[in-house]
């Protein structure tokens, strides 16, 4: 891996940070003035060695003894300089930190938006914890770097420049010695950084792992408890934490070594400056005051190098964080909202599948050779065994996924030409899961149509025959549903999800096992209500309760990714094919003995 990447990790970290800056331009807003303020602020550090040199050479060691007035005059001047510089530095710092916080907040929002633009292929295959960490802990690593490392780096490099300038002005030979030493040390650092970078990448992976383990232990607690698996679960979390600790400690040890090497280096440079300084002697213009000033300047030069070394871990973890965030931003949107897309035609919508093939990036075909047209106003039921491709079919109709090959055409428009705003308003999809947000019942329904008032929400429940269910809730529409809707039963969650889709008044309704956990009597009632309400509109219902198929205008039967039968329930039953077999199983299960 190292051999294949000659550019090395530090460069990558730097490049990654630069890319991040491009993504968050607010970081650099007003930067020139900030830099000027910082530069002025750093001057504070330079005042001290100058004052020392002037006071020692000019006043203390001057012929005729110590000049009190001169010392005081210089001292007061220096103090005034220091205070002014501190004020400038503070102002610059506040400006810079404000800019970085703003830029990062923007970057967080951009990343979040991009994650939501990626298709469900991404959001469903990534672990939740990992997705969350993209907009939380990964961002925090950058924030920490900006707050500490970034400041240290900018101030530090300014300080180094000023110190080197002043050194050169005093005695260029000594300055050359110091700069040469720093350069050598810099090369050493760059090499060492690579090792540190790898250690930090490993830390990030371990952190994500243990976060996932903790999250799983919490959300799976009911099962853990029901099976008495507390000890096994704790052990798993403990192991993940232990691995995280080991990775972190390793990175930390490397950091400790790095920092102490900086100190050693500072000592060596100081010794060399004194040695060479006295060797050069007064004959080459080295005065006691300037050599003493040099000792202070070496400290000024080494201090920022140390601070930078100190924050190298921050650079590395920020670099790793940035790389992960850029990994998100660089992932092309696989199901994009078309540029200058068109709206769906008004009225009921027909659906055409032409030569559709679909497979997940790593896997066999889920759907193949699918060509089917559904006339507008038809009620279609999609049936088939698990894994037959019914759910994928539903996701293709709603463009949650794009086909690998072929076209989905709705209302005469290729689906990938339809503006998302139009598509989502006209085509509603209700997945099996009935996901609810941690808000009230009313707020969850309004999620489908934000402008709906309480009366409209109530009316929607009524239309679907759910007024009595709503009435028995303790606080009606204001009843909280809890995280993931956990305070409602699974069937109740599906009811709310259904009303939520219903209230958007769609022209094409796609239901994927949307009432699988609702009791049969209620399901029948719901279906009846929806049939009445959706009369003349197109609806596609994926179901394994075949009662849905009995009621449909047309049944599509899927088997292993292919459409194997289509037609009316009675005809298919009479044909004695795959549908008849499915139905026999179903009928055997429902016959009320």
């Amino acid at each position: 891996m190292t051999a294949a990447k000659p550019e090395g990790a530090p460069l990558e970290a730097r490049l990654a940070l630069r890319r991040a800056l491009r993504e968050a331009p607010a970081v650099l807003r007003g930067f020139p003035l900030t830099l000027v303020l910082m530069l002025a602020g750093t001057g504070m550090q330079i005042v001290v060695p100058i004052a020392i040199q002037q006071i020692v050479d000019g006043e203390i060691l001057a012929a005729g003894g110590v000049n009190t007035g001169g010392v005081l005059r210089l001292g007061v001047l220096a103090l005034a300089g220091i205070v002014a510089a501190a004020a400038a530095r503070r102002l610059g710092l506040v400006r810079m930190l404000r800019a970085s916080a703003t830029g990062l907040s923007d970057l967080r929002v951009t990343t979040f938006r991009h994650l939501h633009r990626l298709s469900i292929l991404h959001t469903e295959s990534e672990r939740r914890g990992a997705l969350v960490s993209r907009v939380t802990s990964d961002m925090t690593t950058i924030q920490d770097f900006m707050d500490f490392g970034g400041v240290a780096m900018i101030l530090g490099s300014l300080q180094v420049l000023l110190a080197v300038g002043l050194m050169t002005w005093y005695r260029w030979q000594l300055s050359l010695l110091v700069v040469g030493g720093v350069a050598m040390y810099g090369v050493l650092l760059a090499w060492f950084q690579r090792i540190l970078a790898r250690a930090h990448d490993r830390v990030r992976v371990r952190v994500a792992d243990s976060l996932a383990a903790v999250g799983e232990a919490i959300s799976g607690l009911p099962i853990v408890r029901a099976y008495g698996a507390e000890d096994a679960t704790l052990e798993r979390v403990r192991r993940a934490l232990e691995r995280q600790f080991r990775a972190e400690f390793r990175a930390n040890r490397l950091g400790a070594f790095l920092f102490s090497s900086a100190e050693l280096f500072a000592g060596l440079i100081t010794a060399a400056v004194i040695g060479v300084g006295v060797w050069l002697g007064p004959g080459r213009g080295v005065t006691a005051g300037s050599l003493l000033a040099f000792l202070f300047l070496v400290n000024l030069l080494v201090e920022p190098v140390q601070m930078v070394v100190e924050t190298l871990d921050l650079v590395q973890s920020a670099g790793a964080g940035v790389r992960r965030i850029l990994g998100v931003l660089d992932t092309p949107v696989d199901v994009p909202d078309p540029v200058d897309g068109v709206d769906l035609p008004t009225g009921s919508l027909d659906v055409d599948f032409a030569g559709i093939r679909f497979r997940y990036p790593t896997g066999p075909d889920v759907l193949s050779e699918l060509t089917v047209s559904i006339p507008d106003g038809t009620r279609v039921a999609v049936v088939g065994e698990t894994g037959s491709g019914k759910t994928t079919f539903a996701k293709l109709v709603t463009r949650l996924l794009d086909p690998t090959e072929g076209w989905v055409i709705i209302g005469g428009v290729p689906l990938n030409r339809v503006r998302f705003a139009s598509l989502r308003r006209r085509v509603a999809f209700v997945p099996q899961e009935g996901f609810l947000f941690d808000a009230s019942v009313g707020a969850n329904v309004r999620y489908g149509r934000p402008e709906a008032g309480d009366d409209e929400v109530r009316a929607a429940f009524e239309e679907l025959g759910l007024a009595d269910w709503l009435a028995q809730l303790p606080a009606g529409l204001a009843t909280p549903v809890g995280e993931r809707g956990g305070q409602l039963s699974v069937g109740e969650r599906q009811l709310v999800a259904l009303v939520r889709a219903w209230i958007s008044d769609p022209d094409l309704l796609v239901l994927d096992e949307a009432t699988s956990a609702v009791d049969p009597a209620l399901e029948v009632r719901l279906r009846r209500a929806m049939e009445r309400l959706t009369a003349g509109r197109t609806s596609i219902t994926v179901a394994h309760r075949l009662s849905t198929a009995e009621a449909a205008d047309e049944v599509l039967v899927f088997e292993k990714g292919r459409l194997v039968e289509r037609g009316r329930h009675e005809d298919l039953l009479a044909a004695g094919g795959p549908y008849a077999a499915l139905h026999a199983d179903w009928a055997a299960g429902t016959a009320s003995l």
């Binding site: 205070v83 404000r98 295959s125 096994a232 705003a421 303790p474 039963s489 299960g589």
Partner: protein
């Protein structure tokens, strides 16, 4: 925002936190402080050495009073030696401070999860998982921030005292000035960290909000997309993110303000000492070398001073994180266990419930006055409309929740009397939504319990999961991904079912556990269960007559009450609500048949 906490409270709690951490791992802390002390003494040594070198080498040689000769060797060696000593101190301190911090973080996170695993489910209903994860990861990290600079801070304190001592020894007036200056700067530091503390807490809170929104939003990604609400979600996050941004800016503003004092202190101090020192030098009570020592020492204090500032700063930071950790750790709503051991006999257990009442929150009654009497090895179906309390009853039977009134017993033993992890040796529960862990199939079935291989295989067969599991890339060793996302809903349910069956429990509770399974597969499973002759009492929540057909009797639940308990046929005849529920599909099909019939006739005429 609440009224600011008093400085003394912040300090007291901060010190208590430090004491807690140090007490847990005193050895590492002592070693780190040792390293810091070495470092501090090295700084003092460096200044003394530089002063000596000035007096003995630099001034004599450069003023031409003495020849160079080999005078330089000693000076260079001394300075190098001090640097090596200093580097050793740094390595020691950083290594052990890092170890201490990492270890403490891991300890805290483990304590958190261990604590949470013992709390009642009721507590979790008020929390969001994303927020709890943030407490573990972010707040757990934050709470230990103090441990990185603490040894250095302790070392620095020694250094400051030593510096004052040395300066006083050289010149008492200069010493006094340094003491006053340092005292003032520490006072400013304390005030600064106190003021930032409140701001920190706001940052922590906002961070939790951001994490919570992100977690929920990605959790419901499918719904967000299906409804086209990506932008709405983004705005929701943006609002929280901007609040967080403003909180961070406020903290930074305070930091920059107080930081300015601390950072300029060494420079101001050096110049003041130089001025006063020059006057003393004139008076002859000080040599030039001593003056250099004093000023050099002060300039070397720049980094320790800054890090000292970080100690107070990080103390506030840590305390803010710790408060959130502590909120979880001091939650005492534990699930209380008895001391009864399981009695894992190979026979079904009798289940009884007496006057069972339950509400998730006051006023929201889910079950009331429920009476149950299920003889051993019987199979009972629980049937009722959506929202009638079936799932709640199922969870009460396996003690995921405790009834508010009344009691549930297993062979006459109240469920609450069982010791921890004992009840699961007799009962198994399959919820409506299968939860799988990020482990392989085998791990998901055993959940850490040693089970004979043939028992696992038999369970997989019975759950009709053997074929698809065998077809997975590594069979039973295949990793399933978080929440088992690599499997379909029906497959997840079958693995969850196998998990329960593999234990051969005395009471098996199935909550609509095959709702996502294909009818034909479900038929296989039901046939299998009927024939398997399990040593179990089975309670099955179901709608489908096929599942109900498994049952000896049926409990019909409506509005949180047992309306009737009897044989399926009797209930059909005597309970019109039950009949409506069970015959809904058939009636619907018949009605449609009739409608179509009319439709065709109408069309023909």
């Amino acid at each position: 925002m609440t009224a600011p906490e008093r400085l003394s409270v912040v300090l007291r709690d901060g010190l208590a936190l430090v004491r807690r951490f140090v007490r847990a791992r005193p050895g590492a802390f002592a070693l780190a402080v040792g390293g810091a002390t070495v470092f501090a003494s090295a700084i003092v040594l460096a200044a003394v050495v530089v002063g000596r070198v000035t007096d003995d080498l630099i001034i004599p040689v450069l003023d031409g009073e003495a020849a160079l000769g080999s005078r330089w060797v000693g000076g260079v060696l001394l300075i190098t030696g001090v640097a090596v000593y200093k580097a050793a101190g740094i390595t020691l301190r950083r290594t052990f401070a890092g170890w201490l911090q990492g270890r403490t973080q891991a300890d805290l996170r483990y304590q958190l999860i261990d604590h949470q695993m013992r709390l009642r489910l009721a507590w979790f209903r008020r929390q969001s998982t994303g927020d709890l994860m943030a407490v573990s990861e972010t707040d757990g990290r934050q709470a230990t921030y103090i441990l990185a600079p603490l040894p250095f801070g302790t070392g620095s304190l020694l250094l400051l005292l030593a510096s004052i001592g040395i300066i006083s020894w050289i010149d008492s007036l200069l010493g006094g000035i340094t003491l006053v200056g340092l005292g003032g700067i520490i006072a400013i530091d304390l005030r600064g960290s106190w003021r930032t503390f409140e701001a920190f807490q706001a940052v922590q809170h906002s961070r939790g909000l951001v994490s919570g929104i992100a977690h929920e939003s990605f959790d419901g990604a499918l719904t967000v997309k299906a409804l086209g609400r990506e932008e709405y979600e983004t705005e929701r996050l943006a609002r929280a993110s901007e609040k967080l941004r403003d909180d961070i800016i406020e903290v930074n503003r305070l930091w920059a303000f107080y930081g300015a004092f601390i950072e300029s202190f060494p420079a101001v101090g050096t110049v003041v000492l130089l001025m006063v020192g020059a006057l003393r030098l004139k008076g002859g009570s000080l040599t030039a070398g001593e003056l250099v020592t004093v000023t050099y020492l002060l300039s070397l204090l720049a980094i320790p001073m800054r890090l000292m500032g970080w100690v107070f700063w990080d103390l506030a930071h840590s305390l803010a994180g710790w408060r959130r950790v502590d909120t979880v750790l001091s939650e005492r709503d534990f699930l209380v266990h008895g001391d009864l051991a399981a009695d894992p006999q190979p026979t079904g257990a009798a289940v009884e419930g007496a006057a069972v009442g339950f509400a998730y929150s006051p006023g929201e009654v889910i079950l009331s006055g429920v009476e149950l009497e299920i003889p051993p090895s019987r199979t009972v179906a629980v049937v009722g409309p959506t929202g009638s309390g079936k799932s709640t009853l199922a969870m009460l039977l396996v003690r995921l929740w405790d009834p508010d009134s009344g009691a549930i017993t297993l062979d006459g033993r109240d469920l609450r009397r069982f010791a921890r992890a004992e009840l699961p040796r007799e009962v198994a529960f399959v919820p409506q939504e299968a939860f799988l862990f990020n482990e392989d199939v085998r791990g998901n079935i055993t959940l850490g319990m040693p089970l004979p291989e043939e028992q696992i295989e038999a369970a997989l067969r019975l759950a009709a999961a053997d074929e698809f599991v065998a077809a997975l890339p590594q069979g039973m060793g295949t990793q399933l991904g978080e929440r088992g996302t690599t499997l379909s809903g029906g497959q997840r349910q079958r693995v969850a079912l196998a998990r329960a069956l593999a234990r051969r429990p005395r009471l098996l509770v199935l909550d609509d556990a095959t709702s996502a399974v294909d009818p034909s597969v479900e038929a296989d499973i039901l046939r299998g269960l009927r024939e398997a002759d399990l040593p179990s009492t089975v309670v099955v929540v179901a709608y489908r007559p096929s599942s109900i057909a498994l049952a000896d009797t049926v409990i019909y639940l409506d509005g949180g009450r047992v309306v009737a308990h009897g044989r399926h046929g009797e209930l059909l005849a005597t309970e019109p609500g039950y009949a409506r529920l069970l015959q809904a599909y058939e009636e619907d099909a018949a009605a449609r048949q009739a409608e179509r019939g009319r439709g065709t006739e109408g069309g023909a005429s």
